[in-house]
C-alpha cells in the first residue's frame, strides 16, 4: 500500500518519457490514477466498516522523519478525490495539450504533484506531511509556470511559490514545536496528547503557524491574492490544482488538526472569521469578472472560505456539512473548469461578454456545463443542494454564530449561484453565436466534465451512498464518532426555506446582472498590494545594501576590520578584571634604546615618506632594527635570516617600485586624522597586550623538551635548526610550499603581463669594471659561505634558509654586475628546476621514514660518528628551494620590461 501511495512519483518519471515520445497517446496514462481511485475506494469502504490503519516506512528517525501513513476516512476521502479527479484531468489534458512538445515535462510535474498531494492527505508523520506539502507547492510552481515564456506565467508561479512556501515553512516550525511538545511526530498519536498540547505555552505559536500554513495554501484572506493569478496555468492544471486538490490541502490541514489543536476560542474565532471573510469577498469578486477562469477562481476562493468557516465552528454538524460541501464542490467546480477549458480550446476566448449561443455547436459540453451550474446553484436533487442544505442546517444550530453567518452565507450562495450560471449556462444560452466556426470538442474534453457533473446529479438523487465514507471522515475529524445520514428530503424546515430563498435570490440576480455589475466596488488596495509592497521593500533595501557590499573601497573593508578589532578587543580587555602588567623582567641597555629608537624612527619615516625610495629605505631600517633586536636577545639564526630577507625585500621593492610614482597624500586631512586615531588605537591595544604577555613567564613545556632532546635525539646543537628540520619539519615543508607558490605566482604575474608591454625600464647591469671584478671575486666566496652555513646549521647558527639566501644573493650580485641572462647561464639550471628538485628532496627525505615503516618525516640517521641523516637532506631541499625561489623572483622582475 505504501508503494501505491508513492507510485505517482515513479509514474512521473515514466510519464516524462512516455508523454515525450507519444504525446498524442498520453491519455493512456490516466489508467494508473483510475486504478488508484478504485483501490482507495475499496480501502475507504473497509475503513468505514472497521476504522483506519497505520502503515510505516522509516526514513530518518533521528530527525523525526518517517513515511508513516494513516489510512483513515478523512485521508481516504481526499485521496479518492485526488486520484479520481486526477484520472479525469489526465485524460482531459491529453487532448487539451494536443501534441505539445513539452508534454513529458507536464505529465511528470502533474504526476509528481499527484503523489505529493496523496502524501499530504495520507501522511501520519507531521514532518513528512511538510515534505509533501512543500512538494505540492513546488510542483505547482512548475505547472503554473508551464508556459514559462510568458512573463505573466513566471510572475504568477513565483508568487504562488513564495506565498505557499512561506506558509509551508510556518508548518515546519509548527511541526517541530508540536513534536517537541507532544513527544511524538505521529498525528494520530498526537490526538491523544491534545489536552497537554492545548495547555502548553507554545499552543498559541503552534496554532498560529499551522493556520498560517493552511490559510496561505487555501488562499484565505489575507493570503488569497495568489489564487486568481494562478489561472495563468493551463486549464487542466487550474482545474486540478487550484480548485479540486491543492487548495483544499489547507482545508484538509485544518480538518486534520482539529482534534489536536481545535475547539479553543483562538482557533475557532480565527478560522471562522477568516473563512467567512474569504467567502464573502470571493463571492463578490466572482461575479465581477469577465474571464471564465477568474470567475471560477474567485468562486473557488469563496467555497474554500465556506469550508474553512464551517470547520472553524467545529460542531459535528458543521464538520459533516463541510465534507458534503467539499465533495459536491469538487464535482461541479471541476466540471465547470473543464467546460471553460473546452470553450477556450474551441473558441479561443474566455471572455463571457463574447460567448453566447454555443449550445448548438457544443451540445454535450453545454449539458455538462448546465448540470454543473445547477448543482452549484443548489437546485434540489443535486449534490450541491444536499451540500447547501447541510450547511444551512448546521449553521442554524450553531449557537453564537447565527444569524450573522447565516445571512452572509445566504448572500454568498446567491452570488455563487449566479457565478455558476455565468460560467456554465450563459455561454451556451441564446441563439446568436458571436464566435464563429465552433465545433464540439473531442471526447476527452467533454467526457470528464460530463462525468463530474453527472455524478453531482446522480449522487444528489441518492446521497445516502456517501453516508459511510463521510461518517468515517467526520469521525476522524471530530475525534468523536459521527454518524452521517443524508437524504434528499427532510420535510419543510427552515433550512428548506433558506434554500428556496437562495434560489430565488439567484433568479433575481440573474435578471439583474447588468445593473449589478455596474455597481461594483473595488477596493483601492488589497493584500496583494501588501505582498507587492513587501517585495518592493525588500528590493529597495537590497538596492541599498548591495552596492555597499560589493563595490565599496578596500579601505572601507579594512577600516571595518580594524575598528572591530579595536572595539571588541579593547572591550574584552577592559572588562576583564584580572588583566594587568607584571614587572618588567629584563634590564635595559643604551644599545637597546638606540635600536628601538631606530625602529620607531624608521616606522614614522615610512609613514611620512613622500617618495617610494625613502619609504622603502625606511622599511629596510625597521627590518634591520628588528634584526638587531633578535641578535641582542639570543636569536642569531633569526637575526641572520631577518637581515637577509630584509635586504632581499628592499631589493625587490626597488625593482618593482621604480614603476610607481611619488607618495603624496591623497586623502583629505580629516580622513588622515581619523585613520591615525584608529591606527593609534590598534597600536595601543597591541602594545598593552605585548607588555602583559611578555612580562608573564611562559611555561617551559616545549622548550625544556627541545633543549634536552635536541642535542641527543635530534643530533643537533642548534636547537632552533633542529626544531625547523626535525621537530617541526612539517611546518617547514608547508613554508617552502608557500615560497614556491609565491615564486610561481610572481613569475606568472610578470609573464602574464608580457603582452601588455608597457614602457618599463630594463634594469641595466652596472658595468663599472671595478664592480664587475669585485663581483667575480665575491660570488664564489659567497657560494662557499652559503654551503658552509648550510652544513654547519645543525650545530651552529646557520641552516638551509640562511644558506640559501646567501647563495641567492651571490647570483643576484652577479646579475647586477653582468646582467640577468649571464647570471642565468651561470646558474646553469632554471630556477624552477631548483625549486622543483628542492621540494622533491624535502618530500623524499620524509618518505624515507615511511619506507621504514615510521611516520612521515621521522628522522633517519646514517650509522657513524658524523650525524648525517634525513634532516640534513631536508635542509638541502630547503636550501635549493630558497635559491630557486629568490632567483626566480629576481630574474623575472629584473627582466620585466
Amino acid at each position: 500500500m505504501v508503494f501505491l501511495i508513492v507510485s505517482p512519483f515513479l509514474a512521473a518519471v515514466l510519464a516524462a518519457w512516455f508523454a515525450g515520445r507519444y504525446p498524442h497517446r498520453a491519455g493512456w496514462l490516466a489508467f494508473w490514477p483510475a486504478v488508484l481511485t478504485v483501490l482507495f475506494g475499496i480501502e475507504l469502504q473497509r475503513t468505514a466498516a472497521s476504522g483506519g490503519r497505520l502503515l510505516e516506512f522509516p526514513w530518518a528517525p533521528s530527525l523525526g522523519l518517517s513515511f508513516s501513513f494513516n489510512l483513515d476516512g478523512l485521508g481516504l476521502l481526499f485521496a479518492i478525490l485526488i486520484a479520481g479527479v486526477g484520472t479525469l484531468i489526465v485524460l482531459y489534458a491529453s487532448r487539451y495539450l494536443g501534441g505539445h512538445s513539452q508534454a513529458g515535462r507536464f505529465y511528470a510535474s502533474l504526476f509528481a504533484f499527484m503523489g505529493a498531494m496523496l502524501g499530504v492527505v495520507l501522511s501520519d508523520n507531521i514532518l513528512t506531511l511538510f515534505v509533501f506539502w512543500e512538494l505540492t507547492g513546488f510542483t505547482s510552481f512548475l505547472l503554473i509556470g508551464f508556459e514559462h515564456e510568458r512573463p505573466a506565467a513566471r510572475a504568477a508561479a513565483l508568487q504562488a511559490l513564495i506565498v505557499t512556501g512561506g506558509g509551508g515553512l510556518a508548518l515546519l516550525a509548527a511541526g517541530v514545536l508540536l513534536t517537541d511538545v507532544s513527544g511524538t511526530a505521529s498525528l494520530s498519536a498526537m490526538a491523544a496528547e491534545r489536552a497537554f498540547i492545548v495547555a502548553s505555552p507554545f499552543y498559541g505559536a503552534i496554532a498560529g503557524l499551522v493556520l498560517l500554513a493552511a490559510f496561505t495554501k487555501s488562499a484565505q484572506v489575507p493570503f488569497h491574492f495568489w489564487l486568481p493569478n494562478a489561472m495563468e496555468a493551463p486549464t487542466p492544471v487550474s482545474a486540478y490544482l487550484h480548485s479540486a486538490t491543492m487548495v483544499k490541502a489547507g482545508v484538509y490541514l485544518i480538518a486534520r488538526m482539529t482534534p489536536i489543536l481545535g475547539a479553543t476560542p483562538m482557533w475557532t474565532t480565527a478560522v471562522t472569521v477568516a473563512g467567512a471573510a474569504t467567502m464573502v469577498i470571493g463571492a463578490y469578486r466572482a461575479v465581477q469578472e469577465i474571464d471564465l477562469k477568474r470567475i471560477l477562481a474567485y468562486s473557488t476562493l469563496s467555497a474554500l472560505g465556506v469550508l474553512t468557516m464551517l470547520l472553524g465552528i467545529g460542531t459535528s454538524h458543521t464538520i459533516v456539512a463541510a465534507l458534503v460541501y467539499l465533495v459536491a464542490h469538487a464535482g461541479y467546480k471541476g466540471a465547470l473548469f473543464l467546460v471553460a477549458g473546452a470553450i477556450d480550446h474551441e473558441t479561443g476566448t474566455r471572455d463571457i461578454t463574447l460567448l453566447t449561443g454555443l449550445r448548438r455547436a457544443m451540445p454535450i459540453t453545454a449539458v455538462a456545463g448546465g448540470a454543473a451550474a445547477i448543482s452549484m446553484a443548489g437546485v434540489p436533487l443535486t449534490l450541491g443542494f444536499v451540500g447547501k442544505d447541510a450547511t444551512y442546517e448546521a449553521l442554524l444550530h450553531a449557537n453564537g454564530w447565527s444569524p450573522w453567518l447565516l445571512i452572509l452565507i445566504v448572500l454568498a450562495s446567491i452570488l455563487l449561484g449566479l457565478a455558476g450560471l455565468l460560467a456554465g449556462v450563459l455561454p451556451f444560452r441564446g441563439n446568436v453565436a458571436l464566435v464563429k466556426d465552433v465545433h464540439e470538442p473531442p471526447w476527452p474534453l467533454w467526457l470528464p466534465p460530463l462525468v463530474l457533473a453527472a455524478g453531482g446529479l446522480l449522487v444528489g438523487l441518492a446521497p445516502a451512498i456517501l453516508n459511510g465514507p463521510l461518517s468515517a471522515a467526520a469521525t476522524a475529524t471530530a475525534g468523536v464518532p459521527v454518524d452521517v445520514s443524508l437524504s434528499v428530503w427532510h420535510g419543510v424546515t427552515p433550512t428548506l426555506l433558506l434554500s428556496v430563498l437562495t434560489l430565488a435570490g439567484v433568479g433575481i440576480t440573474v435578471a439583474m446582472r447588468g445593473p449589478l455589475r455596474m455597481r461594483s466596488w473595488n477596493p483601492r488596495a488589497g493584500s496583494e498590494d501588501v505582498y507587492r509592497g513587501a517585495l518592493a521593500g525588500l528590493d529597495a533595501v537590497s538596492r541599498v545594501i548591495g552596492p555597499t557590499l560589493h563595490s565599496a573601497s578596500l579601505r572601507t573593508y579594512v577600516m571595518v576590520i580594524v575598528t572591530t578589532v579595536v572595539v571588541l578587543g579593547g572591550t574584552a580587555l577592559l572588562l576583564d578584571p584580572s588583566f594587568g602588567f607584571a614587572v618588567p623582567l629584563t634590564n635595559i641597555t643604551v644599545h637597546d634604546v638606540l635600536i628601538v629608537f631606530l625602529i620607531i624612527a624608521g616606522a614614522i619615516s615610512a609613514v611620512v615618506a613622500r617618495s617610494t625610495m625613502s619609504a622603502v629605505l625606511s622599511l629596510g631600517t625597521v627590518g634591520y632594527g628588528v634584526a638587531m633586536i633578535f641578535l641582542s636577545f639570543g636569536a642569531p639564526d633569526l637575526a641572520m635570516t631577518q637581515f637577509s630577507v630584509e635586504t632581499l625585500t628592499v631589493l625587490i621593492y626597488v625593482l618593482v617600485f621604480r614603476h610607481f610614482r611619488e607618495l603624496g597624500p591623497l586623502s583629505p586631512r580629516l580622513v588622515r586624522v581619523r585613520d591615525a586615531l584608529i591606527a593609534t588605537g590598534v597600536g595601543t591595544f597591541i602594545g598593552g597586550l605585548v607588555l602583559s604577555i611578555a612580562t608573564t613567564e611562559t611555561a617551559p613545556r616545549l622548550r625544556e623538551y627541545f633543549a634536552e632532546f635536541g642535542p641527543t635525539l635530534g643530533r643537533g646543537r642548534n636547537i632552533v635548526n633542529v626544531i625547523l628540520v626535525d621537530f617541526r619539519a612539517f611546518d617547514t615543508l608547508g613554508e617552502i610550499t608557500v615560497l614556491a607558490t609565491a615564486a610561481i605566482g610572481v613569475r606568472g604575474l610578470v609573464r602574464f603581463a608580457a603582452s601588455d608591454r608597457r614602457n618599463g625600464s630594463r634594469v641595466s647591469p652596472i658595468t663599472s669594471p671595478i664592480f664587475r671584478t669585485g663581483a667575480r671575486l665575491l660570488m664564489p666566496l659567497l657560494l662557499l659561505f652559503s654551503v658552509f652555513l648550510l652544513l654547519r646549521g645543525h650545530n651552529q647558527p646557520g641552516g638551509g634558509f640562511v644558506g640559501g639566501l646567501v647563495a641567492a644573493a651571490a647570483f643576484a650580485l652577479y646579475a647586477i654586475a653582468f646582467g640577468v641572462s649571464r647570471a642565468r647561464r651561470a646558474l646553469w639550471v632554471r630556477p624552477l628546476t631548483l625549486l622543483g628538485v628542492g621540494l622533491l628532496l624535502a618530500l623524499a627525505s620524509g618518505l624515507v621514514a615511511v619506507l621504514r615503516g615510521r611516520p612521515f618525516l621521522t628522522a633517519s640517521w646514517f650509522p657513524g660518528p658524523v650525524a648525517l641523516g634525513t634532516p640534513a637532506l631536508f635542509d638541502v631541499g630547503v636550501f635549493l628551494v630558497v635559491v630557486g625561489v629568490v632567483l626566480m623572483m629576481i630574474f623575472s622582475l629584473a627582466e620585466d620590461s
Binding site: S553, F630, G683, E708
Partner: protein, 114 residues
C-alpha cells in the same frame, strides 16, 4: 626592556595600519611590511626575552644550561618571516600589475570602470 619592545611593536602596528588605510597602492604594501615586522616582534617578545644566550648547545656539553632564549618562538618567527616574505613579494608584484592595468595607483580608482 619589555616595555620598549611593547612600544616598538605597538608603533609598528599603528604605522602599518595607518599606511594600509592610505589610498596609494605602494603605501599599502609598505604598511603590510611594517605590520609583518610588528607581528614578528610581537611573537618574539611574547615568548619571553633572554639576553644574548642563544639556544645553541656549546661544545662539550650535552644540554643547554640555565637560562637560554626560548627556541620555539624563534622557530615560529623564522617561519613567519619566510612566509611573510613570500607573500609580500607576491603582493608587491600584484600591486604593480594592478597599477599597470588600472593606470592609477589610487586604490579607490582601481576598480572603477573608466
Amino acid at each position: 626592556m619589555e616595555g620598549l619592545l611593547a612600544l616598538a611593536s605597538g608603533v609598528l602596528y599603528a604605522a602599518g595600519i595607518y599606511l594600509i588605510l592610505r589610498r596609494r597602492l605602494a603605501q599599502l604594501i609598505i604598511g603590510l611590511g611594517l605590520l609583518s615586522n610588528g607581528t614578528n616582534l610581537l611573537i618574539f617578545a611574547a615568548g619571553g626575552l633572554t639576553r644574548a644566550r642563544p639556544p645553541v648547545v656549546p661544545d662539550g656539553a650535552n644540554a643547554l644550561m640555565d637560562r637560554y632564549a626560548d627556541p620555539v618562538p624563534q622557530a615560529l618567527v623564522l617561519t613567519a618571516i619566510v612566509i611573510g616574505f613570500g607573500l609580500l613579494a607576491f603582493s608587491l608584484v600584484l600591486a604593480h600589475r594592478v597599477h599597470a592595468t588600472a593606470g592609477s595607483d589610487d586604490i579607490d580608482d582601481v576598480g572603477r570602470e573608466r
